[in-house]
Symmetry: C2
Subunit: 351 residues, 2 copies
């Protein structure tokens, strides 16, 4: 598989058809693992890093045909290609901007992604559309088991899996659910949600993980704790809480429709109108209007446009995607023009 | 002719095809006249007012077939119908909101309009599309001459025509040209224009005459002086000045295109997008976007839409027009919804 082929489509996790897909974009689980015979990366020299990369690359290749993954040596990728993979959620910003031997392997459908020499020797990620905690857990557990047949991961009888950062120690799991919460944001109810989640040990992050800002009303909710509980117990914590947030968002949407349908319809229609007509548009404004549009479709206020299309637009209007589509480097103002052109073309196709 | 028929079309002056029609909407001349045998309206009792109305109604009817005019007794018109005629520029707000016997006669094409018992016994108005000072003067002079064959107007050898307000005394003429000056407004150059016009005795007013605010970047420029010069000399003053303002607006538009075509194109495209998609919209916002759109069409930035359509939208989205179109009374928020619906429907027809 060539990287260029990715631009022809989007990952399975954007298909917008999973359970609760009106509000839950995707579910993601990742596991942090380290080879027992090597030091953590913070203490590994270049030779050790190279050896870790060589071993894990070979072991990942051995998973085929049980698990077919495309391996890319990240050090050979252009900056634009690395950013492109970040936008698709296939690699983290840390891996993109890191140094030394490192790689990524991912499946054709982009559901599974294995990062080599990120913060840990290995980060396994599984991503599915909609609320799919069990599906993700089942798949990632399989990949983890298959690899564990082949390699020895650093594991301590009492502490569990050992990780470069102590906050990941134990299970090494982070389970996160990406939610689209425009009604809670608009009514400022979102702050209450954040406070409640914080109290029960769940973290809230933006679209691109730790340190990233929430854009387009998207929030990732994930477990803070990794130690002292089983993976199943940590997943159950999210499984219990997420339906309440979904219900809360739905209730507020319902109230908005009931109390001021006209104003809501006006807002989402104008968002659609602007996306179909702007000649230049920033990423932030695009995210904001796409967020309104997405809610509008789910509330039946916008016709002739499907959720998967809108989900795709969120990704394809990002800087690296635009530049891949245009086969060239674009500065910020050129990107704003390319983004507006792309939006007009894609949205014109829909009618 | 029934008043209801007017809603099927718009006046000739909106056809947007006259000279300099990209910037000049219309040219208007009005003459103030009073019957010599009656006191001014400020001193006339109800019986005198009724008699003036009776005489002028009869004399206007006698102009047919040389000048066919439809006469309406304004006292029998509903408030909505009077407002409707104001929006079409066929009567003034003063005549609409006045009291006692009064009327209006206008031609089918809505170019000529004669108001009885407004501020003066008679106000004759001729209105044409584009910059048409001579055409207006020729037509209004003819109507004035025809009437003067039939009635005796108050005239003083030294002062000229006598009028209720001394500022109209002499010629009783007001010549005004309605200009669309969005580029001068956006660059704030318009203030310089106002100052220059003031110095040479020309007045600047909004869309609906004296005391009205400029909306949608439309300005009426007219003579202040009526005394001590001939009608031809007063008209010539405007004839000399208007081309300079037109050239100024065109130059600034040219600079805007040259320096920031993308931003200008974005502004006018978004204006079009909002007008095509809003579900509720105020009159002010409509005027602003239609103004951008009108400039965009004239600069070749918007395709598939004609100036006469945009000119019509300015008039048909006004409160009374919307209510006539809907055959009912609408409150402010209902009008905003009706306005948005009308705009979407009309603009959808265009593509």
């Amino acid at each position: 598989m060539k990287l260029e082929e990715l631009i022809q489509s989007s990952g399975e996790w954007l298909r917008g058809e999973g359970p609760e897909a009106d509000i839950v974009i995707s579910t993601r689980i990742r596991l942090a693992r380290n080879l027992s015979q090597f030091p953590f990366l913070t203490r590994a020299d270049d030779a050790a890093r190279a050896e870790i990369e060589r071993i894990l690359h070979a072991q990942i290749a051995r998973l085929t045909p049980r698990k077919a993954l495309n391996y890319f040596d990240v050090t050979t990728l252009q900056r634009l290609d690395r950013q492109f993979l970040v936008e698709r959620q296939l690699i983290s910003r840390e891996l993109a901007e890191g140094h030394g031997p490192r790689g990524v392997a991912f499946s054709n459908a982009e559901n599974a992604s294995l990062m080599v020499n990120e913060e840990d020797h290995l980060r396994i990620q599984v991503l599915h559309s909609g609320l799919a905690l069990e599906e993700c857990w089942k798949e990632i557990n399989q990949i983890d088991d298959m690899l564990e047949e082949q390699v020895s991961f650093a594991f301590h009888q009492q502490l569990g899996y050992l990780t470069a950062c102590p906050t990941n120690c134990g299970t090494g799991i982070r389970t996160s659910v990406m939610l689209h919460l425009p009604a809670l944001v608009q009514t400022k109810e979102i702050q209450k949600v954040f406070q409640a989640l914080h109290k029960i040990g769940l973290a809230v992050r933006g679209l691109y993980g730790e340190g990233s800002q929430a854009m387009g009303d998207f929030y990732q909710i994930s477990n803070q704790t990794t130690l002292g509980k089983s993976e199943e117990a940590l997943i159950k914590n999210l499984k219990d809480v997420i339906p309440n947030i979904i219900a809360y968002e739905r209730r507020v949407r319902g109230e908005m429709v009931k109390e001021n349908k006209q104003q809501l319809h006006d807002m989402v229609s104008r968002a659609y109108g602007i996306l179909k007509s702007a000649q230049t548009i920033t990423s932030e404004e695009t995210m904001q209007h796409l967020s309104s549009l997405r809610m509008g479709i789910n509330l039946g206020l916008i016709e002739g446009l499907r959720i998967p299309t809108v989900n795709e637009l969120f990704i394809f209007t990002q800087p690296a995607h635009l530049q891949k589509l245009r086969h060239g480097t674009l500065d910020s103002s050129e990107r704003n023009i390319a983004r507006a052109t792309y939006l007009r073309e894609r949205l014109a196709e829909q009618n």
